[in-house]
Amino acid sequence: MTNLLVNRTLECEGLACPLPVVRTKKTVEEMQTGEVLEVRATDKGSVADLQSWAKRTGHQYIGLKEDNGVFRHYIRKSDPTEIKEERKFPHLIAHEEIQKKLSAGEKMNIVDVREPAEYAFGRIPGAVSIPLGELEGRMRELDPEQEYYLICRSGNRSDIACQTLAENDFKYVKNAVQGMTEWTGEVEKD
């Protein structure tokens, strides 16, 4: 299995309940908001418990991979107290329009700025992954004369990404502001 790029990995193989959840909680506390943790566990009970724990604490449970009896959980730290950031970038695109263009077979440059693990568990078909943190460094891969649609989970990270590109003379950038949480169309997975 290919390893997904994460900020931290927590090894809980061989540990029984409650330790996987207890250690996950402690580790997430030490991490920064937005970072992704991979938890490796062999206890089957960890599956329902970690998902339930994430839901109750507001952290984003990205997905689960199972490989030879090892469960790999991907969790992104969120800060439940954080105020919803005000979006500044004015040019937006609605999912309906993206859907229309895709159905018409139009070539679209969709850039998914979420973390690699989030991208791996489901993205719009054809979307390219450039996590927000890597955008400045990888901007050369993009062409300022082309049109780009940026997407993340909820429209916040893509808002920042749009601003960054606009500041660097990209002319045709739009924020797919509804984010993946509201995407009901086809998804592509690893």
Binding site: C17, V21, V22, K25, W53
Partner: protein
């Protein structure tokens, strides 16, 4: 430091059966708790997942009535120890946890004596209280037969050892869909004969002895007669038994407060007629004095004295709602529509009982987790 005690599934079973007051804090996640939990007439149970208590332990303390003893329960036992220790450290006394968690609860069998038999033998019902399965042992003159054996064969072995009995037969009333049969494994181990109804065994991968009407089975110098009666409906092969002319073992066809569901082998529509025929005609012809001993119970209210699940056939014809649906269309509707969810992994369990797949012990355990839901009225 305050100490915590451990309680075994056997001890908890005794408390439930004796109607002793028991306060349980179940710390599993919400969905597991909603699916199944320890029940009893005198059991008070609440659910707070252990991971809700990592930051703030007060909800647990506040939930326990003052001065009451508390039993903490989880899936395997780790989280219940973790929580129980904190409750004890907060100064509460009489704190215990369930050894082996719900895993042990699901596997424990309580032997309950049904009766002494006329030829000097004994009949026992093994109550799998955590899952609602019932199996039976006929003992006579140093010989034993087991009907609807559960997967935990060591508990029957120990019992036979205590009774000084040698295993002769294991018999399944039908191909089970809610639990893995231990009948074949146990028969193999002791050179006993494993019986199955041939109509349920068309796809099995092993040798077995055919259960047939008219072909009686004897235990203990031919003193105890086990008389098979073909009674299809839950499965096409379902077979009942009359033991000692007094006890009617109904398998999953007739329960004390409900009747069997015909849908677990995917043929509900086809088998409705058989089920009705068995319940409304074939059993009608039997003596009302027979004591019905089913293979399941649905609710703890069905547990009688000492935990015994039984009912007089005549009384069941008066009180069991499943035996009192006069209209055939209405009956068809009851047993095919609005059925409870199917038991956990029932397809894989059937495959295992046919010998088509051989999961390891841990996998078998996982497949059986949860309630059995073999009756029409189990919710």
């Amino acid at each position: 430091m305050m100490t915590i005690q451990k309680m075994t599934a056997k001890e908890v079973t005794k408390m439930v059966l004796n109607n002793e007051e028991l306060f349980i804090l179940d710390v599993r996640n919400e969905s597991d708790f909603n699916d199944w939990r320890i029940e009893g007439n005198s059991v008070e149970i609440i659910n707070i997942p252990y991971f809700d208590l990592l930051d703030d332990f007060n909800p647990a303390l506040e939930s326990i009535p003052d001065g009451k003893s508390v039993l903490v329960v989880c899936a395997k036992e780790g989280s219940s120890i973790f929580v129980a220790e904190q409750i004890a450290e907060a100064g509460r006394s009489h704190v215990s946890y369930l050894e082996g968690g719900m895993k042990s609860w699901s596997e424990y069998l309580e032997p309950v004596k049904v009766a002494d038999l006329s030829g000097g033998g004994e009949l026992y019902q093994f109550v799998r209280i955590g899952k609602g399965c019932l199996s039976y042992m006929v003992l006579s003159n140093g010989e034993a037969a087991i009907i609807d054996t559960s997967r935990m064969i060591d508990q029957y072995e120990q019992f036979m050892q205590e009774k000084g009995a040698k295993l002769l037969h294991t018999i399944d009333t039908h191909l089970h869909a809610d639990h893995i049969s231990g009948g074949r494994a146990l028969a193999q181990k002791y050179g006993a004969t494993y019986y199955l109804p041939p109509k349920d065994a068309t796809e099995v991968t092993f040798d077995y002895e055919k259960l047939e009407e008219g072909k009686d089975i004897y235990v203990g110098n031919e003193t105890i007669k086990v008389q098979p009666i073909y009674s299809p409906g839950h499965t096409i092969g379902s077979t009942s038994f009359i033991i000692d002319s007094k006890y009617l073992l109904t398998g999953d066809i007739l329960f004390v407060e409900s009747i069997g569901r015909p849908d677990l082998a995917g043929l509900a529509e086809d088998w409705v007629g058989d089920l009705r025929e068995t319940l409304y005609s074939r059993y009608r012809d039997l003596a009302e004095e027979l004591i019905v001993l089913p293979a399941h119970f649905g609710k703890v209210t069905e547990l009688g004295e000492r935990g015994l699940v039984s009912g007089r056939l005549g009384a069941l014809y008066k009180e069991n709602p499943g035996l009192n649906i006069q209209d055939e269309g209405e009956f068809r509707k009851t047993v095919t529509e609005n059925l409870p969810p199917q038991p956990n992994s029932y397809q894989e369990i059937r495959q295992t009982n046919m010998g088509k797949i051989t999961p390891n012990e841990e996998e078998q355990r996982e497949m059986e987790i949860g309630p059995n839901r073999c009756a029409v009225h189990d919710k």
